[in-house]
């Protein structure tokens, strides 16, 4: 089976600053992976490399066996940590744009999720609250029938009730062969949805284990282990 993500000796420097150092990571399809690390640890750099928004300084990265580019963008659904949608558009315009842009976009799925979360399609994006904007973006990303979902901080700005709905949305809407990579620092809220977690610190991977192995080996939840490993 081709790994959905394969990094070999992957490094990324910004000028003299090292953001990622010699990352070796193989992720098989059909899993939900937590990408965990403190601020500035390299999570977003890795995510941008997966999406072809940055080029490696050294080493290689393959998505489903291909270098990130046009072909991988067809199979990767990416939730950015920043809003890139145009403020003046209505929610329904944005849906239309996604439908035009991505052949795998499932409009019906998106409509159902919007209805569940009580979001009016006629509203302008500009007039939505910060949390609702985040929900709309997540809906757009999860409504694609992708092979790899890369979610950069999907739950940071929403209230706990919506957080639960979002976790359930992620669980319901990815197909079993697909892979979901979620970066977050709200670990306690989400760790039970992960198969495995990757701890990343100062551009290096210090741990890649299944959630139940963390509990068995360390007698701790992922959240507790994280607090210990990354103690300030």
């Amino acid at each position: 089976m081709t790994p959905i993500l394969e990094c070999n000796g992957l490094s990324k420097n910004y000028g003299s600053k090292t953001a990622l150092k010699n990352i070796n990571l193989i992720i098989q399809p059909g899993q939900i992976i937590g990408l965990l690390g403190p601020n500035g640890s390299g999570k977003t750099t890795l995510i941008k490399l997966i999406n072809g928004l940055l080029q490696p300084s050294a080493g290689s990265i393959l998505v489903n066996g291909m270098k990130p580019g046009l072909e991988t963008k067809k199979i990767v659904s990416y939730l950015s940590d920043k809003n890139y949608l145009s403020d003046w558009m209505k929610v329904e315009d944005i849906l239309q744009m996604f439908e035009d842009f991505y052949p795998d976009f499932n409009r019906q799925k998106a409509n159902e999720m919007l209805k569940d979360l009580d979001i009016d399609e006629k509203q302008k994006f500009k007039t939505l609250s910060k949390g609702t904007k985040e929900k709309v973006q997540l809906i757009l990303v999860m409504a694609r029938e992708a092979k790899l979902y890369v979610l950069d901080e999907p739950i940071a700005g929403v209230d706990p009730a919506a957080r639960d709905y979002i976790l359930r949305t992620i669980l319901r809407n990815y197909n079993p062969e697909a892979t979901v990579i979620i970066s977050t620092h709200l670990i306690a809220d989400v760790e039970q949805i992960f198969d495995a977690v990757v701890f990343i610190n100062k551009g290096e991977i210090n741990l890649f284990e299944t959630v139940d192995d963390v509990r068995i080996k360390h007698g701790k939840s992922v959240d507790q282990l994280f607090r210990e490993v990354f103690k300030c």
Binding site: L171, P176, Q192, I193, R215, G219, S221, Q224
Partner: protein, 125 residues
């Protein structure tokens, strides 16, 4: 559902579903939700749910019909055995805690009767 930090999640799911089978929340022969729906309901990873269901199946509490899904066991004996086991575990834990407080068997019996009578009355009201 909230999970303990030091016990594998799949085992906590096993315990939760076991409790629901024992207390009749899931009746014998009842069809269980699909792995995916069940996982979403409990907000856990589908592979973890799969593992928990496999464990329950190996203990004989649920069974799989190849094309139509998973069902709660119809075997009353297995369910009763599991229930008895659960009752013993709860009792053991309680007795250990009472022993740590240096209570005698007679004193424990009195307290249990007292508590039982009170709970029954409250239930009637």
């Amino acid at each position: 559902m909230d999970f303990d930090a030091n016990k594998p999640i799949y085992l906590q799911i096993v315990d939760n579903i076991k409790d629901r089978i024992i207390n009749g929340d899931f009746s014998p022969g009842e069809k269980l939700p699909s792995v995916r729906d069940f996982a979403a309901q409990m907000a856990v990873n589908p592979n973890t749910m799969q593992r928990a269901l496999a464990q329950l199946e190996s203990e004989g509490l649920i069974y799989t019909e190849r094309t139509s899904g998973r069902f709660v066991s119809l075997d009353a004996k297995t369910i009763k055995t599991t229930k008895d086991e659960q009752a013993r575990n709860i009792t053991k834990k309680y007795v250990q805690e009472m022993q740590a407080l240096h209570y005698s068997l007679a004193e424990i019996n009195t307290l249990v009767s007292e508590s039982y009578t009170k709970a029954s009355k409250e239930e009637q009201q």
